[in-house]
Chain length 285, copies 2
Amino acid sequence: MDLKRYLDVKRKIVENAMDRYLPSEKTEPRTIHKAMRYSVFAGGKRLRPILSMASFELVNGKGKSILPAACALEFLHTYSLIHDDLPCMDNDDLRRGKPTLHKIFGEGMAVLAGDALHALAFEILLKAKNSQVIEEVAKSIGTKGMIGGQVADLEAEGKRVTPSKVAYIHSHKTGALIRASIRVGAILGGANGKKLNALSRFGEKIGLAFQITDDILDVEGEEKVIGKKTHADERKATYPKTVGLERSKRIAKELIKSAKNDLRGFGKKRTIFEELADYIVSRVN
Amino acid sequence: MDLKRYLDVKRKIVENAMDRYLPSEKTEPRTIHKAMRYSVFAGGKRLRPILSMASFELVNGKGKSILPAACALEFLHTYSLIHDDLPCMDNDDLRRGKPTLHKIFGEGMAVLAGDALHALAFEILLKAKNSQVIEEVAKSIGTKGMIGGQVADLEAEGKRVTPSKVAYIHSHKTGALIRASIRVGAILGGANGKKLNALSRFGEKIGLAFQITDDILDVEGEEKVIGKKTHADERKATYPKTVGLERSKRIAKELIKSAKNDLRGFGKKRTIFEELADYIVSRVN
C-alpha cells in the first residue's frame, strides 16, 4: 500500500471512531457538542492517531485496542489548537481553511470546547485499560511537555531566542505529543523495552522535524494550501528566524535521516514508518 | 472534634499534599508553575477534597490512599475557576480577596495554567490506582457534568430562565464535581452499592444547595467576607432571580434536610457529615 492510500485508510478509521466517541449534535447542551465537532471535523491530517496506529502495528499489536487511545490523542491535539488560536494566545482567525472556533462560537465557548475535549480524551483513554498509557499521555501534555512548550513559546514572543531555546519550545510544544503517540502505540502493541526506546528516539526526532517544517511552511508555503495565514510567526521563536531558512531545512532532513536509523531493528514492516518520516518534512500543508 | 477544627485539620493535610504534587516555582518553565501555585494557594475552603476524605472515612476507608484523588479534585476545581474568571467567561477581577490569575499573569497564561492543572489532575488521579474513580471524575467535569452546566450558564446570560433550567445549570456547573468528590471517597473507601447510592443522593442535594447558597451570598453577602464582587450575577441565571430570595433559602434548607436523611444508614460517624451539610448553607463565604 502506498503512503497516500495508507494515510487515507487510517484517517477514515480514526474519523469514524471519533464520530462514535463524540456526543451527537443533538445531545444537550447542543452548542458545546456542535463546537467540539466543528473543530474535530474541520479537517486535519490525523497524524498523531495514525502514528499511534502505525507504531502499534509495527510492534505486532493486533486488533482494534489502539483505537480509543488514537482518538484521545487527536482530541487532545484539537483541544490544544482551539486554545492556541484564541485571541489571548496566537489570535488566529483561520485554521485548516476555515474560521477558527472562537470566530464562530465565541471565545467563551471555545475555551469550554477545548476543556471538554481535554476531559473527553481522558474518559476515552480509559478504554485502553492501561494506566501506563494514561500516565504517558497526561505527562506529555503537561507543563513538562506540551504546555511547557506553549508557555516558553508565549514568553519568547517578540524576543531574540537561542537555538537551544527554540529546540526546547518545539520539542515540547509539538514534539511531546507526537513522541507520546508513538510510545502509546508501542506500549499497547506490547513492545519490549528496547523497541520502545528506539521508537521514542524516532518520535522525538520526527516531532521536532514536524514543527521545523511547520515554521518553514509559514515562510514559504501557500496560504490556500496550508489553510491558515502564512507569515503569522514573525514575532515568534522559529527555526528559520533563529538559524535561517536553509539551515532549518537541513536540520529537518538530518533529523529524519537519523530517525530512520532508529528503525533498523524493526524488519520489513518499517517501510511505512520510513515513508511517514519522509512525509513529515516533504508535506505541503 | 468540632466542625471548624475538623475543616482546619483536613485543609492542612490537603494543602500539604497539593504542595508536594505541584512542581515547585523553580521548576522550568517557572511562570506556569508560579501561576498554578498562585491560584491553588490563593485560599479556598477545600470543600471538594474534604468531602472526599470525609466520605472515605465514613465508609471506613483507612490510610492515605484518598489523598491523591482529593488533591486532583481541588486541582480540577481550581482549573474551572481560572477559566471561569476569564474576560470571555465571567470576567471577574477578584477571587478569594485577591486579583484573579489573568489579572496578574495575563489571559494566555491563565488559559494555560487552567489547562495544566486539568492535565496534572489526571496524572495525580492515576495514583489512586482505580479506573472507576478516573472515569467518575472525567465524566463529572465533561459536557454531561460541569462543562455542560457552564455552557448552559453562559447561554442563559441576560435571558429569563425557568426554575428547571437553573436547577440544571447548578446541579451540573457545581453539583457534578461535589457529587463526584463524595462518590470518589466512597469508592476508594470500599463502599457497597447501597451506601454509594445513598451518598450519591446526599452529594447531589448538597451540591445544589451549595450553589444556591452562592447565589444568595451574591445578593446578601459582604464583598470583604466573600472575597469577590457581590451583585456580579445580575445577568446570570440564579435561584434568587428565578424563584425569589426567600424561596431560594427555603429550597436550600430543604435540600440539606433531605440530604441528612440519606445518611441514616451510616451510624454515629455520620455526625461530621451532617455538620458539613449544615455548613454548606450557613457559611458566610
